[in-house]
Structures are given as C-alpha cells and as structure tokens.
C-alpha cells in the first residue's frame, strides 16, 4: 500500500518535472497547459481588470468586499452568480465567449480579458 502510494507520488513528481508549464504535442510544438487565473474583487474593482487567457483556462473571481458582487458577461452569456464576502466562483474559457464583463449589482464595475491562441 505504502509502496503504491510512493510510486504514485514519484510518478506525479516526474510528470511535474517533465511538463512544468507546457508539453509537446505530436507535431512537436509546445502547447500551453490550461492555467488558472484569479481576479480579486475589492473596493468595488476587479483586480486585475485586464487578463490574457487561453481557451481551456479557468478564471476564478473572489469577492473581498462586504457588498455582494457578480462577474457577468455584458451579453449575459455567462455569470458567476451572486458572490458574498469571501465567496468565489470560476468560469472556464471557451472559444467565442464574451470577454467584457461587469458586476450586475454595481454596473459601474467593468473589466475584460482577451483570449489568445492556445498553441504557442
């Protein structure tokens, strides 16, 4: 049992060392692995208010304000729902999704991200 756990851990360590941030596709080109981005909502601002993301990445919004907030696409295509203080929610980036968003409760809060091609 212990040996199996050790092998699993060792395999994970080798995988992490071999593929730290990207891996090679069959064509030999480096392909970015999905990344996780965090956007803090504090003082009625999204920080950062500009992000570069790729299809497959995840964006997580976490609310540090007392007032509840949302991150809502300007076309309404995606929405985190209400985030109370210290709550968080994530959205996975898909091709063609709306990249400008705002807080549905406080419409003066606005931010955006841009989707870059996944292959590097």
């Amino acid at each position: 049992m212990i040996r199996r756990l050790f092998i699993r851990k060792a395999a994970a360590a080798i995988a992490a060392a071999t593929f730290p941030a990207s891996y090679l596709s069959l064509s030999g080109r480096a392909i970015a692995r999905p990344r996780r981005h965090r956007v803090e909502i504090e003082g009625f601002r999204f920080t950062p208010d500009r992000l570069e993301v790729a299809v497959g990445d995840t964006i997580t919004w976490i609310n540090r304000d007392i007032a509840p907030h949302t991150a809502t696409a300007t076309d309404g295509g995606w929405n985190t729902g209400e985030l109370v203080k210290d709550a968080e929610a994530s959205v996975t980036v898909v091709s063609g999704m709306q990249t400008t968003y705002f807080c549905a409760f406080h419409p003066m809060m606005k931010a955006r991200f841009s989707i870059t091609p996944k292959d590097q």
Binding site: F44, I66, A67, P68, K85, F105, H106, M108
Partner: protein
C-alpha cells in the same frame, strides 16, 4: 467558586462597555453610539429602497433599490457579527434619533409622489443621503473610532457607500433626462 468566577467575568465584560455619554456632536460619540448610528442609517436606506420598490415602475430604480437592500443588509450583518464577537451592544443617541426623525418626514413626503416625480425625488435623496453619510463617516466617525476592528469595518463600509454615491449620481442623471 464557579459563581465567583462568573461574577468576575461579568463585571469585567461590563467594565469594557463604554458609559453612555450625552454627546451633542457626532465627533463626541463613542464606538457603540457610532455603531448604532451606522445601523440606523443602513436601515433608513433599506426603508427608502422598499418604498421605491412599492411605488416606482422604473426598472432602473428597482435595480438600484434592490442593490441598496442587498448591500446595506450585508454591512449590517457584518456589524452585528462584530458586535457579537466584542460582546457589545450598540447605544442609542441623539444622532440616531435625529436621522430617524428626518427619515420619517422624507418617507411621508415621498409616499405622496408617483411616476417620474417619485423616481427623481428618490434618486436625488439617495445622492444627498449618501453624500451626507459619507461625510459623517469620513470626517467624524473614522478619525474618532477607538476599536481597530470597528474602524476597519467602517473603512470597508465607506467603500460601499462611496460606490453607492457614485451609482446614485448616475441614477440622478438617468431620471433627469
């Protein structure tokens, strides 16, 4: 032995409660009186918002009113949680009573209005009210609050109320067109 210990703890807790003073200006209020004013001020704005939901038919006014209810309720919940943690009770005072009396008159006045006239009065009052409260919180309350946690809560609350002031400015422009 146990009874003596309980008595000692109770006396210690009582000693931590500031004695109510007959403050005559906002800057003279103690932390628990300031907490009371803030709680009353939050509830007044929630009351205005409920009035707006009952009278107005403007979707933007409804949206704004729902935000006021949501945000001021959240601030009050944080304030009550902090007071519970500090084992303290907010203290009634001249300013809380003055704010309540003024709000009664305004509710009476706004209740008689309908349509665009109500929307304009509600938006203008929201702007004036948040400006007045923000001035009070910035200049009279935050510099005089002694407890660090209470001060921090007011600083966080002020960010919310300033955002409301900005939002109210937009509302006034929208309903004045």
């Amino acid at each position: 032995m146990k009874k003596h210990l309980l008595l000692a703890v109770s006396l210690f807790a009582l000693a931590l409660q500031p004695t109510p003073s007959a403050a005559q200006s906002p800057a003279e209020l103690n932390d628990l009186q300031i907490a009371h004013v803030a709680y009353v001020a939050d509830n007044i704005d929630i009351r205005y918002a409920h009035l707006a939901l009952a009278i107005s038919t403007n979707p933007a006014i409804h949206e704004f009113a729902r935000t006021m209810i949501r945000d001021h309720t959240a601030v009050n919940e944080q304030a009550l949680a902090l007071l519970k943690k500090l084992n303290a009770q907010p203290q009634d005072n001249f300013l809380s009573r003055q704010l309540t009396a003024n709000s009664e008159k305004l509710v009476d006045e706004m209740s008689k209005l309908r349509g665009a006239e109500f929307d304009k009065r509600y938006a203008e009052n929201e702007l004036a009210y948040h400006k007045a409260v923000n001035d009070l919180v910035s200049n009279a309350f935050i510099p005089n609050i002694e407890n660090a946690e209470v001060k921090s809560l007011f600083e966080a609350g002020l960010k919310t109320f300033k955002a409301h002031e900005h939002h109210a400015e937009m509302m006034v422009k929208a309903v004045s067109k």
